[in-house]
């Protein structure tokens, strides 16, 4: 690798239509954005030359990310504000660059450190009632207390240990909508040994069999490391 001195950590938001990108598609979009931004990119000298960009933990497809990160290795110091400006100019609609700062090049990668996340899930409840806030809370508590969550996707099955994955008690709050009531569920989750649990899977499992609700959105509002917890 050519002289790599600077590791820029960029904080961004993935929103609007971009929330439907997979992790791989987001990575490709970020790589193309940093090339367009004409930053002094560090390129590996290995057989397969490549720029060094490492994104944070994956977001589920369809989820908005308000506090996402990626690390980028540069060969020259560039004022973080200027880097942000160039990245924003080179970006696409839905990719909002919020801030950037340099971190020690020797620290562990984002997927290893940023394992704590806060999610907000918006549920729309049928206007004629049926499903109450208390019922939602009771169902969620029951699933979490069960300790294990089994998720089946296509031919695969994965079991999550909820005692590890759920970090603290969830919160529920109501939001009045135009024609229906909305409930916001806030979850504090941690990437466990089995990987990151999908918050939507947790909620849909909890409310399975109940009518009168629809999951409208999933938003990761915060992503942070151990020291920042609490």
């Amino acid at each position: 690798m050519n002289e790599t001195v600077f590791r820029l950590r960029v904080n961004f938001q993935k929103r609007d239509r971009l929330r439907f990108l997979s992790h791989l598609e987001l990575l490709r979009t970020l790589e193309r954005t940093v090339r367009r931004a004409q930053l002094p990119l560090a390129i590996s000298n290995a057989q397969n030359r490549s720029l060094r960009l490492v994104p944070g933990p994956a977001l589920p497809v369809g989820a908005v990310g308000l506090d996402e990160y990626f690390d980028l290795w540069l060969t020259e110091y560039l004022e973080p504000a200027l880097a942000c400006e160039r990245l924003q100019q080179a970006g696409v609609h839905g990719l909002e660059i919020r801030a950037a700062s340099y971190v020690d090049p020797r620290v562990k990668g984002l997927p290893a450190t940023h394992v704590h996340a806060v999610y907000e899930l918006a549920l729309e409840l049928a206007a004629d009632g049926g499903l109450s806030r208390a019922e939602i809370a009771e169902r969620l508590e029951r699933v979490i207390a069960g300790g294990l969550l089994v998720i089946k996707r296509k031919d695969k099955q994965k079991t999550y240990d909820l005692s590890q994955a759920v970090e603290r008690a969830f919160e529920l709050r109501e939001v009045a909508g135009d024609s229906a009531n909305h409930v916001i569920i806030t979850l504090w989750l941690r990437t466990a040994e089995q990987g990151a649990i999908r918050p939507a899977a947790l909620v849909t499992t909890a409310l399975d069999g109940l009518a009168g609700w629809e999951l409208r959105s999933v938003t990761r509002t915060r992503l942070y490391e151990d020291e920042e917890r609490g």
Binding site: E25, E31, R32, R35, I43, R49, G62, A90, H93
Partner: protein, 646 residues
């Protein structure tokens, strides 16, 4: 024409389908109604279809991943968006999961830029990349809410025009299209749109009361290279007689004469989804002067046109800055076709040094020089290098006008392995007219000899990792080629050819990738490629029975076509295998492809003469065209026509 965005109805479907990124739009360099945002270089916010502009839907009848990488559509997008008062919007056929949801919720096919209905555009330009896409075209038209048959559409519908290689014999599709642009559509699209806008007049922006179709069609028939089927009377003898003075007796294909005059696409749309060729493409050259007798491109676009080195390098630099792509691919039929190829590659390598951008060339090697150029054009990680001898024996290669001896091919392959390639691909056709068992056995023998040479060319420590792919495809006779009169080989013959190849003894490391045992797709291709208007019912019936995405793995079902043929009183085998007599009129003779009937007939005669030339075959030397003396120089092209159009 103004149309509302359907985004609010599309969005709830996206969590329910595979790869929702196919349907998002808003990619970098996509042009929406707000042009200032584009020229300013900022990302674009998708918005409703702009008011007061002429809107063109560029419809690719396949999924986003296949269509977004189509360079011809990218060129049209670039040209149309540069026209004052015009916008081009892309539309792709959604995958089956999305189609089912859209039909269930009565959501019409939409364009990505405005998410407005395709049917709300003034013009729908449909790419026709290959014959098997025809059922996808019907699915797209139906999903758009348009009547399938042109005769059932009227002034309130957009005009539907077909472009691409399949339009060289438009007859099987005439029922579904209002018009076709023959040849390279970018050469005619500006005139076409101008004529259409003039004919529409004030109706461009007023969708409620559109003018009658006939004056519009008359105006379009006057544009050179445009075929308007409704203005021709099909005769029993397969000729087409113009009904009005504006319609030419023969429609001449359009051609971009000067590649340098065609501005390269330096800011193509950068997809989110991974597409087939996910890279910046820059054309080095167009056309092919090799005139292989099976090749439609070589017959129709034989004029070699190159882009200047300065223009190629500038296009690459601007394109990479505008897209951020990690790969630059040069497009040409052969690297050695461009007289400045070395200079271009040297300058591009210099441009890309110290970056992570890879250089590649989408091309096949025909000479040892091509191999050397490919070496300059590839990065450290090399994919297989492709060679296309097409036939295993010199006898057949000579008949196909491929001046290549076994030794020359082996030397090319050897040189490729010697400079670092670890895998090469040899491509062949089977089922060629006049093919014998020994020609097919020669494929395996040639591959064996080439692989032995490859092993000898590399250090012993690398030999275990060498590979060679031998790929065979079924010969499909195509219109406007010298072999257009020949039929496809029978199913039994093709099966026997496959068996012959499978039973050949090949060294470890040589992988046979043989044609489909049933050869079913190739038979449908052959049946439709040279059919007339009777095939419209066959296509429609096959589509109604579920024929869709016929080139996708696991989708093709021959029964759809057999049942459809039976319902139309047609036979796929008869259509595929039929031979035309030399003096028999052909369905596509009202299309002037630049290669005259006399020329093609003479080439066919030479093909047959070369097959009969046993002395040449036995000697293993090369006999090209009428020459059986061993010279590889092709005979002059313009025999009885085929002159370059001005």
């Amino acid at each position: 024409m103004r149309a509302p965005s359907l985004w609010e109805r599309i969005e709830p479907l996206l969590p329910l389908v595979e790869k929702p990124s196919r349907y998002l739009g808003c990619e970098r360099n996509a042009v929406t109604g707000n042009r200032n945002a584009v020229t300013g270089g900022n990302c674009n916010l998708p918005n409703a279809a702009a008011d007061g502009v002429y809107r063109v839907a560029l419809l690719y009848p396949d999924v986003y991943e296949n269509g977004q990488s189509d360079h011809a559509m990218a060129i049209l997008y670039h040209i149309i968006n540069a026209l004052e008062g015009c916008v081009a919007e892309r539309a792709f056929l959604p995958w089956v999961d999305m189609i089912a949801l859209m039909r269930e919720r009565e959501l019409p096919l939409f364009t990505l830029e405005s998410t407005a209905p395709v049917a709300s555009c003034n013009l729908v330009v449909v790419a026709l990349p290959h014959v098997l896409a025809v059922t996808n075209v019907l699915e797209a038209l139906d999903l758009a809410g348009l009547p399938l048959r042109a005769a059932e559409r009227g002034g309130a519908h957009p005009l539907v025009v077909g472009i691409g290689p399949v339009a060289l014999n438009p007859e099987p599709l005439t029922a579904f299209f209002d018009a076709f642009i023959i040849g390279e559509a970018e050469a005619a699209i500006v005139e076409f749109i101008a004529a259409h806008r003039t004919a529409l007049g004030e109706f461009v922006t007023e969708p409620v009361t559109q003018p009658a179709m006939e004056p519009v069609l008359r105006a379009l028939a006057g544009v050179e290279g445009v075929y308007v089927p409704a203005l021709y009377e099909p005769r029993v003898d397969r000729t087409r007689v113009p009904l009005i003075a504006e319609a030419p007796a023969r429609v001449t294909r359009r051609l971009v004469d000067d590649l340098d005059a065609l501005s390269p696409v330096t800011a193509p749309v950068v997809p989110f989804a991974e597409v087939v060729d996910d890279c910046l493409k820059v054309e080095l050259s167009r056309g092919c002067g090799r005139r292989r007798r099976t090749c439609q491109t070589g017959a129709v676009y034989r004029e070699l046109r190159t882009r200047r080195a300065d223009a190629v390098v500038a296009a690459a630099a601007h394109g990479l800055a505008a897209t951020g792509y990690g790969e630059l691919a040069l497009i040409t039929s052969a690297p050695g076709d461009h007289p400045q190829a070395e200079e271009i590659l040297r300058r591009l390598n210099h441009l890309l040094q110290d970056t992570d951008v890879k250089l590649s060339m989408a091309s096949r090697c025909h000479t040892v020089r091509d191999v050397a150029l490919m070496q300059l054009a590839t990065s450290e990680r090399r994919g297989p290098l492709s060679f296309a001898p097409m036939a295993g024996s010199v006898r057949l290669r000579s008949a196909l006008n491929i001046p290549l001896t076994d030794d020359e091919l082996i030397e090319m392959v050897r040189s490729a392995y010697a400079v670092g390639w670890r895998c090469c691909e040899l491509r062949f056709l089977v089922g060629l007219p006049g093919e014998r068992d020994e020609d097919v056995q020669a494929i395996a023998e040639l591959a064996r000899r080439a692989f032995v040479a490859a092993r000898e060319a590399v250090d012993e420590s690398y030999r275990g990792g060498l590979r060679m792919d031998v790929r065979t495809e079924v010969f499909v006779p195509r219109p406007h080629t010298p072999l257009q009169w020949a039929g496809q080989a029978s199913h039994a013959t093709l099966k026997q050819r496959r068996h012959l190849l499978k039973s050949a003894e090949l060294p470890k490391g040589v992988n046979l990738r043989l044609h489909d045992p049933a050869s079913a797709r190739a038979r449908i291709e052959a049946a439709l490629a040279r059919a007339g208007r009777e095939a419209a019912a066959l296509i429609e019936q096959a589509w109604q029975r579920g024929a869709l995405f016929e080139t996708e793995r696991g989708r093709f079902d021959e029964a759809h076509w057999d049942e459809a043929a039976a319902s139309c009183d047609l036979s796929i085998d008869e259509l595929a295998e039929r031979r035309f007599a030399p003096d028999e009129p052909l369905y596509w003779e009202h299309i002037d492809s630049g290669a005259s009937r006399e020329f093609l007939a003479e080439e066919f005669r030479r093909f047959e003469a070369a097959l009969a030339d046993e002395a040449t075959s036995a000697a293993g030397s090369c006999s090209v065209g009428s020459c059986s003396t061993g010279s590889c120089e092709p005979a002059p092209y313009a025999v009885g026509g085929g002159e370059r159009r001005e």
